[in-house]
């Protein structure tokens, strides 16, 4: 199967074309075309993955075109990372295709939605099997296009249109870095091919400065795509797209492409200390930055969006700390539990028709499947022991600690606390208490929507066991080709991680779940000592006043940094561009003498320069 792996991305492309031509007539039957295509891709991906388990990396390359004496190649490669990504992407994509059949039911552009999904899936699958940077870049832009079309799917909403445009242009800014970095590498090594680049780096034929420069430029591309600070602002806005899209593109696959890119080029990054540090610092900062903003959001999808940004920051931190396996491990588990959370959130939105968590509540009983599944996702992302997120997050913390990034390590620990807190705040507000909005006729979503969630729910629980310090590091062995790559880490890290996660959950419970619970608890357990009561109360108050207040201030502050400094800077550049445009069109006054004069002035300037420089610059 490996030699035919190129066919995997083509199924969704075929689906795209079919739906483009006959979609209008097929109406909602379009869903089956899309599902069949992605199912075929998934089966192919599993076959490729199974084959790669026992065989060496497979690569095909052919000369694509020649510029002068430089050969530009095209081809594909099945290495462990690519094989894993194929499975993850095709699986999530299939599940989202299935889910959307229920979610998008009744939309008049149903078939268009599936056509776009097909285009995106094609591009994403193509991206993860590319064997060279140029091809990666091509698919990289194509997934961006797919994302653009899908964010703007509800084009009658002004915000959706703005968000689509913003996403496209913001990520494009990052892509410029990628493009320049890529061309620098090509210039230095004479090839876009990953293995050639690594060979050149290893042989020392590229200067250290050049490695660092190109690695950082390429990282800028990853920053844009993966919503890392300071190019993250498009990702929360992208939540204007339909929720299945948020699950597929803006949680599980496309936004992880930045992490994938850094992982693909890992040998390049390893060769440069400063580049690694940059990746780690940007990742670590983003992790805590986004998590703290997540604390005060009231839109269910925005909370999840900031959480995605923060989790992607974790992955970057892992990679930057040399934790190759940890980063990819978290990418995999995150794909499952975050897709689950988004799909469950979509199920909630589908039922209550609002995204404002202040207008939700009391859904635990009304949504008997969605609620526990959401809880599983929440537990997994919070890093509660024995669920998938626990193991992968632990790996990352270990990587940061053993690499000596003490500050980043503690930042990550605090971010883990925040994560547990805001996720359970979300959970309690949506599912606990009583309904605060006006949606009383709430039903569980249809089976076609809950089925994919159940599959993801199972994965969110068990996916962690592919790489644990207790049962074996299968994933690590597979990815690195060595056995038992888990570094011996101090056991207290796991304890700390568990403690902060539980503390976060506990605090969230005190603040958002306690209202009814604590009163019961107080009245039934009267014999407890005053001191304990006091202390409980004290902890609550203490958290509310100090930690709660401080984080609120911090997150407000960061939100303002975000709004005024980051966006302000972007605004400044935009208005400068506009100003030049306005100036230019003002000169364009329609008077022909002006046009001639412009030419003479231009010529005069050139001649004057010539006169002053004496003929050579």
């Amino acid at each position: 199967m490996m030699e035919n792996a190129w066919i995997i991305p083509l199924f969704p492309l075929v689906s795209f074309f079919i739906l483009l031509v006959v979609g209008k007539r097929m109406k909602e039957a379009s869903a089956y075309v899309g599902m069949a295509a992605t199912l075929l891709s998934f089966i192919g991906a599993v076959a490729v993955f199974a084959e790669r388990l026992n065989e060496p990396t497979y690569q095909v390359k052919q000369v694509w075109f020649t510029i002068g004496n430089m050969n530009i190649t095209a081809g594909f490669e099945i290495n462990p990372l690519n094989a894993l990504m194929l499975v993850v992407v095709s699986l999530v994509s299939f599940l989202v295709h299935m889910y959307s059949k229920g979610y998008m039911h009744g939309d008049e552009r149903f078939s268009v939605f599936y056509a776009y999904l097909g285009l995106f899936t094609f591009a994403m699958l193509g991206l993860v099997i590319s064997a060279n940077l140029l091809q990666t870049y091509i698919f990289w832009e194509l997934v961006g296009l797919g994302s653009f079309l899908l964010i703007g799917f509800y084009f009658y909403k002004e915000e959706a249109k703005a968000a689509a445009k913003k996403a496209f242009i913001m990520t494009r800014i990052g892509d410029v870095g990628l493009l320049i970095g890529m061309i620098l590498l090509f210039w230095q090594t004479g090839s876009f091919q990953y293995d050639d680049i690594f060979a050149a780096v290893k042989a020392g034929s590229v200067s250290e400065t050049m490695i660092t420069l190109s690695a950082i430029l390429i990282f800028i591309g990853a920053v844009g795509k993966s919503g890392q600070f300071p190019l993250h602002t498009w990702l929360p806005d992208a939540m204007e797209g339909p929720t299945p899209v948020s699950a597929l593109i803006h949680a599980a696959t496309m936004v992880a492409a930045g992490v994938y890119l850094v992982a693909s080029l890992f040998p390049l990054y390893e060769a440069s200390e400063p580049a690694m540090l940059t990746v780690a610092v940007v990742g670590g900062f983003t992790a805590i930055f986004a998590a703290s903003i997540g604390l005060v959001q009231t839109d269910i999808k925005r909370v999840l969006a900031y959480s995605t940004v923060s989790q992607l920051g974790y992955m970057m931190l892992a990679l930057g700390s040399g934790g190759y396996v940890a980063g990819i491990f978290h990418l995999t588990t995150h794909a499952f539990f975050k897709a689950l959370l988004f799909l469950a959130a979509g199920s909630v939105i589908h039922a209550v028709h609002t995204q404002d968590i202040e207008k939700m509540g009391g859904l635990w009983r009304k949504m008997p499947l969605t609620a526990p599944l959401f809880l599983i996702g929440t537990l997994a992302i919070s890093g509660v022991p024995l669920l998938s997120g626990f193991f992968s997050k632990d790996e990352i913390l270990v990587a940061a600690w053993t690499n000596g990034h003490v500050i980043l390590f503690w930042l990550a620990v605090v971010a883990a606390f925040f994560t547990a807190f805001y996720m359970f705040r979300l959970f309690f507000l949506v599912f606990g208490g009583d309904m605060r909005g006006d949606a009383h006729d709430v039903h569980e979503s249809p089976t076609v929507m809950t089925m994919p969630m159940i599959v993801l729910g199972v994965l969110a629980v068990v996916a962690g066991y592919i790489n644990t310090p207790w049962f074996g590091t299968f994933l690590g062995d597979f990815l690195t080709g060595e056995t038992n790559v888990h570094e011996e880490a101090p056991a207290w890290i796991m304890v700390v991680a568990t403690a902060v996660s539980l503390a976060g959950i506990f605090l969230a419970w005190l603040m958002y779940g306690k209202k009814s619970l604590s009163r019961d608890w107080l009245s039934s357990r009267a014999p407890l000592t005053y001191n304990v009561l006091f202390n409980k109360y004290y902890v609550d108050e203490f958290y509310t006043i100090t930690v709660g207040y401080a984080t609120k201030v911090l997150s407000l502050f960061l939100q303002y940094v975000d709004r005024f400094i980051v966006e302000g800077l972007a605004g400044l550049i935009a208005s400068l561009t506009k100003a030049i445009g306005t100036l230019g069109s003002r000169w364009q006054n329609g008077q022909v003498q002006m046009y001639g004069a412009a030419m003479f002035i231009g010529l005069t300037i050139l001649v004057v320069i010539l006169a002053f420089t004496g003929g050579y610059l």
């Binding site: 075109f65 510029i67 698919f139 445009k165 493009l179 069109s585 022909v592 231009g602």
Partner: protein
């Protein structure tokens, strides 16, 4: 010159030119003798047939060795062959558009359009192949004067008249400046033959003379930048593009611009590459003037792309977009890498396909609506999904998104800017930055097509000729984007145009 000497020349190498000339003459006679009320459409078919025969004959000439006839005034070299192919292909596509062009008040002077178009094409072809300043200039003027009339062919339309008048005035200024520059070079060398001039210039030691040559360089470049629509001679473009009949606009933005780059390459490489300059270390005049061109290229990209942001009229938008593309092409020229001509040829080919495709759709959409406002594109996806996807392909290619010919073209020029020593970082950076700016207006158009509701849902009528143009351009855009080796294998036979001075 006796009849015998005349017959010694290998006239065969001029077959494509003779065909175009013959068809143009025949068309003008037929148009004169045809009754007024008869439709002129068959004349268009005749013109297209002529151009296609010319293409076929040119393909037949591809294997012919570099030949020059008429005392080196006409050269058939690799450069001429490759660029003539572009000009002829572009012309055939524009003629197809012209046949289906139906402005509100009707197209009264269709016959005139066809033969003036062919004479303009003939001028461009002569420029491509000329080895002498005189023929070069005659070709240039033949192209220009025909285009002035083409721009004003909608006689009853106020904007079209304005367009033609502005074009003539600016064209006059440009010609004057160009001629002035040429006279300096002539004065320094005493010859109009490009090869002899090059030899003379390469022996120019006196620093005063070199200074005059540098002045001539600037004047020639500024004068010719009129044809490229690049800074500082770009301002006519939006007004002229807006007013001219749409096929004429398509002609100006593609064929005429290609011809402009042809003359710039031909003239500057021949004359200035071997000329010495007065730098501290003696070097080629072309290389020492490189920074001026780089400066103008940068300014062209910045002005074209930023002012485009403000446009609501699609034809003006495409005018600025074409200015911006001239800027990208000039980056290729300014970098002066050894793949310069290849990369510019490829870019021009890609630009021809994507821009003509876009113009084809623009023409039917604006004709039908009777307005050129960008909002006429709103909801095109709802009205005619396939047409919208085609337009999407062209816009993506113009923006330089991977998978399209426009991307490969840009990458090639970009790589060229890095292939020289020292690399042109600043120029490359401006190219990238302005490309991002261009996304804003290209995606504005994209948003209109895909994300705006349509005012009404009647599908757009697409006539056969326009359909052919759209399909050919879309296939080409995608094919060159995915398999650029198609074009590069074709270029391989020219071996980087080394026979320029032979």
């Amino acid at each position: 010159m006796s009849w015998d000497t005349l017959m010694q020349y290998k006239w065969g190498v001029m077959t494509p030119e003779f065909i175009v000339l013959g068809v143009a003459t025949a068309l003008s006679l037929i148009d004169l003798l045809m009754p007024n009320e008869k439709s002129r459409r068959p004349l268009g078919l005749f013109a297209i047939a002529g151009v296609i025969v010319a293409i076929v004959s040119l393909i037949g000439l591809l294997s012919v060795d570099t030949t020059s006839i008429l005392y080196d005034t006409f050269r058939l070299d690799a450069f001429g062959k490759a660029f003539k192919l572009l000009l002829l292909t572009g012309a055939a596509l524009v003629l197809l558009l012209a046949m289906d062009y139906q402005p509100k008040e009707g197209m009264k002077y269709q016959g005139e359009f066809y033969y003036l178009f062919l004479t303009a094409l003939l001028g461009a072809m002569i420029m491509t192949s000329s080895g002498d300043l005189i023929t070069l200039f005659v070709g240039l003027e033949l192209l220009s004067i025909s285009s002035y009339i083409l721009a004003g062919l909608r006689k009853a339309h106020r904007l079209s008249n304005e367009s033609a008048l502005k074009y003539v005035i600016n064209g006059g200024i440009s010609t004057a400046i160009t001629l002035f520059g040429m006279s300096y070079v002539f004065g320094l060398t005493g010859s109009t033959n490009l090869k002899q001039m090059a030899v003379q210039l390469s022996m120019l030691q006196d620093s005063g003379h070199q200074y005059v040559l540098a002045l001539a360089f600037l004047m020639l470049f500024v004068g010719l930048s009129f044809k490229l629509a690049s800074v500082p001679f770009h301002m006519w473009a939006p007004d002229v593009y807006q007013g001219a009949p749409t096929p004429a606009t398509a002609f100006l933005s593609v064929v005429s611009k290609t011809a402009g780059f042809v003359i710039v390459l031909r003239l500057f490489i021949t004359l200035f590459a071997a000329a010495l300059s007065q730098g501290k270390e003696p070097s080629s005049m072309l290389l020492s003037m490189q920074d001026y061109i780089a400066f103008l290229a940068g300014a062209t990209m910045i002005i074209g792309n930023t002012v485009a942001l403000k446009q609501r009229n699609v034809k003006r938008l495409f005018a600025y977009s074409s200015i911006a593309h001239a800027g990208y092409l000039l980056v290729g020229f300014a970098a002066m890498s050894w793949v310069m001509i290849d990369s510019m040829w490829f870019y021009l080919a890609a630009y021809l396909l994507m821009n003509l495709g876009a113009f084809a759709i623009l023409q039917i959409v604006t004709d039908e609506a009777g307005s050129e406002d960008i909002s006429q594109f709103a909801g095109l996806y709802r009205r005619q999904p396939l047409l919208a996807v085609m337009m999407g392909i062209f816009v993506l290619s113009l923006a330089g998104i991977p998978g399209t010919a426009g991307f490969i073209g840009k990458v090639h020029i970009f790589l060229g800017a890095f292939a020289t020593e020292p690399a042109h970082y600043v120029l490359a950076a401006i190219m990238i930055a302005t490309t991002i700016v261009s996304y804003v207006y290209y995606f504005g158009l994209f948003t209109q097509i895909f994300f705006r509701p349509a005012a009404h849902h009647e599908p757009v009528k697409v006539p056969l000729g326009v359909t052919i143009v759209i399909v050919v351009c879309a296939l080409g855009t995608i094919a060159f984007g995915i398999m650029p080796s198609l074009a590069y294998n074709f270029l391989d036979q020219f071996q980087h145009f080394g026979d320029f001075l032979r």
